[in-house]
Amino acid sequence: MKVEHKIYLGLGAFFSLIVIIYWLWAGESGGATMLLASALLGLVPGSYLGWWAKRMSQRPEDVDEPTVEQSSGSIGAFPTYTIWPFVMGMGAFMVALAMVFGSWTLVIGFAFIISAAISATLESKRGGVI
């Protein structure tokens, strides 16, 4: 976790430096806002990862020579197939088309998206397939 933490923090620090220089020199607020957001994008997750790095025991992927105890255990469940992402994608497609042609597909699109979101969540909670 330490390296991950440092990457984020390093980028955050670099963007902070740039935003300061940019703000003082160019004094232009549009670019400064975006740079500031980028700095936060580095600093916030960076600090979070650092906070975790201190609290968790070392992971097997962070050590040069993991021991057997370190390496055992589950890393999560991975679905192999599910229809819901497709349904949600089609819903988004309909919403997008409705945004252009202003048609009734907007309602169906949202219905697709919401039902797919609920179903996918339930499915993932059950830890199983469809």
């Binding site: 020199w25 160019a26 004094g27 232009e28 607020s29 549009g30 670019g31």
Partner: protein
């Protein structure tokens, strides 16, 4: 947010340039580099153009010389890179199934190929800033002023001193007349979308932006007629948004303005 209508934006920028110039010019370095530029300047007539315009304004000529410098630097850098590449490609063709030495790194070499490029870009940056300051400088007391208005799909040139307007679009192209050897400040605006006011022979282009006024100077060095174009996509007839630039002697320019005073040429 950035407010294009705010005249301060322009002023602030120029200040930025000045501050910066003083930053990069510690005295010792300046003189050494001045010698280098002088050498470059003297020999620039023998350096090929590399396909670029020589520049028909003093600003354009500075840009041209900078371009030549960049071209020489890139031939050097590119040349070394390609020589190395071709050497490696032929020298280390596979000969047998043996396993070569497993080199992971070589810190001195890595430092070298980091530091040398940094030095090169610092030098390039130094010359860039010098030329840039020349090219963007706006004289407080120009000899002439002209306001250029871009619109879909044509140009309007307005000379406030004599209240002269030249305007055309479609199949006829308007002509911008400039005096040779004098400073003309161009004020550039757009009536509708973004256009690009581009004079290839002057090595210069600038956007005509709606809601924002751009100013820049031309000091034409050669008489003649040059083509001008719209460089930024502005809609259907973008390719046909041409104009011409005619540089004439100051005397001819005075008689031209006198003859055109108060007139509108369409």
């Amino acid at each position: 947010m950035l407010n294009p209508q705010d005249p301060e934006v322009d002023g602030e920028m120029k200040q930025g340039h000045k501050k910066f110039t003083s930053l990069v010019r510690p005295r010792g370095v300046t003189s050494a580099l001045a010698v280098a530029t002088a050498a470059l300047g003297l020999s620039s007539c023998t350096i090929p153009t590399f396909g670029a315009f020589k520049g028909a304004t003093t600003q354009g000529q500075s840009t041209f010389h900078l371009f030549q410098g960049f071209a020489l630097a890139s031939i050097a850098v590119g040349g070394v890179t390609f020589l190395l590449l071709f050497y490696v490609m032929f020298r280390f063709r596979k000969k047998d199934e043996s396993i070569p030495k497993q080199t992971h790194s070589n810190v001195p070499i890595e430092i070298m190929y980091t530091v040398i490029p940094i030095i090169i870009v610092v030098i390039l940056f130094f010359f860039t800033v010098r030329v840039e300051n020349k090219v963007v400088a706006v004289s407080p007391s120009p000899n002439q002023r002209v306001t250029v208005t871009a619109f879909q799909w044509g140009w309007k040139f307005y000379y406030p001193a004599t209240n002269t307007t030249v305007i055309a679009s479609g199949n006829t192209y308007p002509q911008l007349v400039l005096p040779q050897g004098e400073t003309t400040t161009v004020t550039l605006v757009s009536k509708d979308v973004v256009h690009g006011f581009y004079i290839p022979a002057f090595n210069f282009s600038r956007y005509a932006l709606p809601g924002f006024t751009n100013r820049f100077d031309f000091n034409p060095t050669t008489t003649g007629t040059f083509i001008g174009r719209c460089s930024q996509l502005c809609g259907l007839y973008h390719s046909e948004m041409l104009f011409s630039v005619k540089v004439i002697s100051p005397a001819a320019f005075s008689s031209w303005t006198a003859s055109q005073a108060g007139k509108v040429t369409a």
